[in-house]
Structures are given as structure tokens and as C-alpha cells.
Symmetry: C2
Subunit: 193 residues, 2 copies
DNA sequence: GTCTATAGAAAGATAGAC
DNA sequence: GTCTATCTTTCTATAGAC
């Protein structure tokens, strides 16, 4: 038996990673299965051995991306929760996230794209969104008393800031926007020293 | 001469209105020229007598939509600038805007969609975005001292709030998000009495 | 499981009559 | 300017060999 279960998992993983990279940068419609499979080093024929449809892949790609993928996920020992959160927020609202990230945040890069898609994709999006809020709340609990509502407003601002910045045609406006959001976000979270 | 210049303008206007309605709700790729023309009461053949391409229509549709289209644009005499701005912000961050608006704000409904499109669309988007900021600043000047940076953060939050809310699959979360953004936005703008 | 080949549908753009 | 008809491309999904 030439193909082991492990081998299949590896292929699947490569397809998912390629999907995240291409979907986030180009959106659902402009990304073809062909392109994803080629990027993963395969041909389109074998796609349906892993996923039921393009929609299926899309939803799973969104769910696949870890929250705050721009960074890792675990806090370094030597940083306070406050400093760590500030770093996450700053990284999220950075030009690096916009232009260089291998796995940009689908919440920001695919907001509108998901809205016109099937329920499965929207569900995956909702899950990631709730996780992002949860994660931030976990950190803020330890040093500030900002409530659930404020955190929701902040995540909306972070997502909106990145999404809008990516869309602007003016590089200077892009930077100014990210910087403004960063400052206000940290202030609202009480993460500014 | 059966077709006057005025008649052409009317057709053009109808096409643009249909384009705004369909593009904002379904995005660029999922909206066909055929659908737009049918919605405007015409057939696809005559499309190219008005626009050069689908991309062209898209950019013009974005530019066509007045800022804060959800409302009108002119402030009623009997309202203070402060109250009027509060009303605009509340209307923007409302479920009515999400589900019932004839001309939803393209800034929120098409963020991601524009990002993967041609420069003309991004330029149109940028123009509307700058106008939105400008408009809010015009009002805040008279009663609060919130600066340009804060206004940028607030518009990012408004756009992000609406965009994310529309994408969530949970109706309760949708409402909670809009409400949270509304409150924080008004506070930041100093528009809460 | 992965490949090549292809069926079948959708949609952007053009041609030509009125 | 608007219509009908059509060319052409693109892409999802499937079929069948290895």
C-alpha cells in the first residue's frame, strides 16, 4: 500500500496552508482549486480525495488558522500579560501583518468575503471571532477592568483597521490608520503603561 | 432621434443604483452584469453603451454612493451637531443598516471585496473613506476636542463593526457587537451627553 | 492517493439588427 | 440606445488509469 494515512494527512495539511495563504490574499472567488493544489505541489484531480467542495475547503481553512496567527499563540515567560497583549495588538495592527504575513488573520482579510458565502464559512468565522475576543479577555482580566463590551469594540476596531488599511490606495493613510487604531486600542484595553 | 441624452442619463442612473444594491449585498464576483442590467430593467447587450467594463461599473458604483447613505446627508435645523452625529453613528451601527438598507455603506460591505480588485475601485473606496472621516470631523469640531487620530480609529471601528456583524452567524452576537461599538464610538467622539 | 482528460455551466465581452 | 445571439474563457466537479 503506497499511500499511508500519515501521508494523506501531510497532503491535507499542505493543501490547507496553501488555501489559507491564497484565500486570505485573493478571496474566495479569485482563488481557484487549481491554484491551491498547484501551490501545495499537487494537481487538481486529487483535491476531492480530501475535501467535498471548494466551499468546504474555504470553511476549513478559516477554522484552521490559529487566532493571532501573525504571532505564535503562547506567551513568553518573561513578559507580563499586559506587555504581551500590547505586543499582540501592535503586531496585528502593523504593516507587516498587511503585506508580509504568511497567514494573515482571516477575520480581517475575509470579512466581506465570508459574508457572501455559505453558512459553514460564516460559522467558522464566528468561531474564530469569539476565540479572539476570549483570548484578549483572558489577558485583560489580570491587569485591567475593561468589560466584555469594550473588548468587542476593540476587536471590531482591530479587524476594521486592518481590513480598511489593506484596501486604501494611499500608503501614508494606511500607516496613519494602523497607528491610530493601535493607540486607541491599547488605551481602551488599559494596556498602555 | 428616439434616444435623448437625458434618457441615457436615466438609464445610467438606474444601472448605478442596481449596481450598488447588488454589489454591496453579494460582492463583485457573485454579481453578474446580467443581474445588474435585469434589475435595472434592461438587457446585458446595452451595458457597454454606458460602462467600459464590469470593473469600471464597480468603481463608479462605489464612488456613486453618498457617504452615510443610510441616512440623508443634510442635518435637520432643529438638531445640534452633537445629536445629529450621534444619530448618524447609531444608524450606521444598527441592524436596519445591516439587513434593510437599500444602499448600505460600501466601506463596510465591500472592504475585503475592494482589496482584491483593481486600483480604480480602491481609489474610489479611499475617496469615500476620506470623506467619511472628513464629515465626522466637521461635526465634532463644534463640540468636542477629539483629534484626527481618534476619528480614524472610530471610523475603523464603525466599518469593522458593521462588516463583522454582517458576517457572524449568531443574531444575538450581531446585536451585542453593534451595540458595543455604538457606545464606545459615541464616547470616543464625545457625543454622549 | 494522485494523475490526466474532460464534461458542463457560468459569465464577460462583442457583433449586428432595429 | 437597446435588443438578441454568440464567441470565448474560466473553473468546478467528475471519470478512469495507475
Amino acid at each position: 500500500m503506497p499511500y499511508t494515512a500519515e501521508h494523506k494527512q501531510q497532503s491535507r495539511g499542505r493543501i490547507l496552508q496553501s488555501a489559507v495563504r491564497l484565500f486570505t490574499r485573493q478571496g474566495f472567488e479569485s482563488t481557484s482549486i487549481d491554484a491551491v493544489m498547484a501551490d501545495a505541489g499537487l494537481t487538481r484531480g486529487s483535491f476531492y480525495a480530501h475535501f467535498n467542495s471548494k466551499q468546504d475547503l474555504y470553511a476549513q481553512a478559516i477554522a484552521y488558522t490559529p487566532v493571532f496567527s501573525v504571532f505564535g499563540q503562547t506567551k513568553p515567560e518573561d513578559l507580563t500579560e499586559q506587555r504581551w497583549l500590547a505586543k499582540l495588538v501592535s503586531g496585528y495592527l502593523s504593516q507587516g501583518h498587511l503585506h508580509k504575513a504568511e497567514q494573515p488573520c482571516p477575520l480581517a482579510f475575509l470579512v466581506t468575503d465570508v459574508a457572501v458565502n455559505e453558512p459553514e464559512a460564516r460559522q467558522a468565522y464566528t468561531d474564530v471571532y469569539l476565540k479572539m475576543n476570549q483570548l484578549i479577555r483572558t489577558y485583560t482580566k489580570n491587569f485591567s477592568h475593561c468589560d466584555r463590551e469594550t473588548v468587542m469594540a476593540v476587536t471590531a476596531m482591530m479587524i476594521g483597521g486592518v481590513a480598511v488599511a489593506r484596501t486604501l490606495s494611499d500608503r501614508k493613510a494606511e500607516k496613519a490608520l494602523l497607528e491610530s487604531c493601535r493607540q486607541v486600542a491599547l488605551q481602551l484595553l488599559g494596556a498602555v503603561e
